[in-house]
Amino acid sequence: MQSLAFDISHTLAGGLVLISLMMLYQDRLYSLLNVFALHALVLSLSVAWQAFIQDAPHLYVTAVIALVFKAIVIPVALHRIVKQLGIHRDIESAVGIGPTMLAGMGLVALSLVLMLRVTSDADPLAREDLAFALSVVLLGLLVMVTRRNAVSQVVGFMSLENGLVLAATGAKGMPLVVEISVAFSILIAFIVIGIFLFRIRERFDSVDVSALDDFRGERR
């Protein structure tokens, strides 16, 4: 039982890393949003499994929050934003897909090496969750760095936050108050980013953030 429980949580957390890499691979905006919804779905499954094996009912609340907000509300809202803004659906990436994937693999390897060294005397479950969570966070950052479209940067930010939730649940649960406040701050951040998207769009007629460079006078 113990080993099966570990295997299932390993599978779910590993699947989360894999979906983060799939996010790097996408070159269409809508498919990126769908992959993001899948990411949140796997996250909520993973959190629910942790709640089950740690016998911590408040984590179920976290799972439900992740499911409702991140897997349903935010992707649907982003779909509508993309449709309203009329952005063209190809993602312009600053770096090509191949080098990005290689960099992503390097980041995963780095976070595994680092985390397994640092947490050598912790509980194996928490260790593995921390290692995967760090790689999900780094991959989210990589999505934000390599994409020039503001919407996909938002998606990168959200997936980074998914990694934080994974880390928090692995570490023997965190208080529910903290959990809810984090979830709501993310929601607020999402709303603010949405408003900013519309502003950027109004001013520059595009959501390509390289237009901001021109505005500041930093021509490439």
Binding site: D7, H10, Y25, L112
Partner: protein, 318 residues
């Protein structure tokens, strides 16, 4: 006595793969035709094609060297040996003890090397383009394949196929996300290596798309028959590789009696039929991709293999 029965079982396995290979290809073609609501040729059509080709005269280009003439036999022999090494219905056969996964990859690689050389031998432009594309695909598919091999070897503690299959059939394995990734990656590599649809379409003669066909365009008669049979065998090889590593159910163990061998053979044929059906379904559902997209496709396979290996280190680290 034991040695003789071992030799017989091994011989049965070698003949089995040789006889089943054209049938599998014919079956996949038939299912594909039925899926697009056409009648399709009989499943035995590949046998008839091979017989017809064997009866025909060989037409050689004037400037073809000896290499051009021996290549069909070399490639066929290498692929047949590789296919005989993969456990199909039973593990622990006579040759299985030499059946190292890395050796199988090397045998397939050398077959491909000779084919690429022969493609350039006559000096036509199609042969050259086919060889260069084939080598590009091989250079990307082989690292991915080796990473899959490493992933399996880390799980099972050996690169020997019999041992791997034995281990994965036991209940020690549990649930491993790495194995799932390796399975998907192996499927992608198998599609690229066998020139199946998203990567290459062997049914066309359109110069923009052909890879494998362009390379063997100059062959005729019994030489072409050998190469075609080699291609059929290679498809069977990959299907049996996937079946024996990831779905080793009902495979007969070493020293099992005739009954367990029969059950194993039956299960093997069922697995082949299922795999052929799934392959045909996949091929009718996807479109051929551009040649320049192939590196991305195989890069994804490479990434899956690497990620599977990395994840294994996490689950092994305590």
């Amino acid at each position: 006595m034991v040695v003789i029965s071992d030799i017989i079982v091994q011989g049965v396995q070698m003949l089995l793969v040789l006889l089943l290979a054209p049938l599998l290809t014919g079956y996949v073609r038939k299912i594909k035709a039925r899926l697009v609501r056409r009648q399709g040729a009989s499943v035995f059509q590949p046998y008839r094609d091979l017989l017809r080709l064997l009866r025909k005269e060989v037409v050689l280009a004037d400037n073809a060297s000896w290499l051009f003439r021996v290549t069909p036999y070399i490639t066929f022999a290498a692929i047949w040996v590789a296919a005989a090494l993969v456990p199909t219905f039973a593990t622990g056969l006579l040759f299985n003890w030499t059946a190292d996964l890395i050796a199988i990859v090397a045998l397939l690689g050398s077959a491909r090397f000779f084919l690429a050389l022969a493609g350039m031998d006559v000096g036509t432009s199609f042969g050259g383009i086919g060889s260069s594309r084939e080598v590009m695909i091989a250079a990307l598919a082989e690292p991915a394949m080796l990473l899959i091999v490493f992933c399996l070897a880390l799980v099972a503690g050996s690169t020997q196929l019999s041992t791997v299959s034995h281990f994965l059939a036991s209940s020690y394995v549990g649930l491993r996300v790495s194995l799932g990734m390796a399975l998907v990656a192996l499927f992608m590599v198998a599609i690229a290596e066998n020139a199946r649809i998203p990567v290459d379409n062997p049914a066309t003669h359109l110069e923009l798309t052909m890879v494998h066909e362009a390379m063997i365009l100059e062959y005729s008669g019994r030489h072409l028959a050998m190469i075609e049979l080699g291609a059929f065998l290679k498809l069977l090889l990959y299907v049996s590789l996937i079946a024996c590593v990831f779905f080793p159910w009902q495979i007969a163990l070493y020293g099992g009696g005739a009954l367990s061998y029969t059950i194993g053979a039956g299960a093997y044929i069922v697995k082949l039929a299922l795999a052929g059906f799934l392959l045909a379904l996949f091929e009718t559902a996807t479109a051929k991709m551009r040649v320049f997209r192939v590196p991305q496709f195989l890069g994804a396979a490479f990434m899956l293999g690497l990620l599977g290996t990395l994840l294994l280190f996490v689950s092994r680290s305590f």
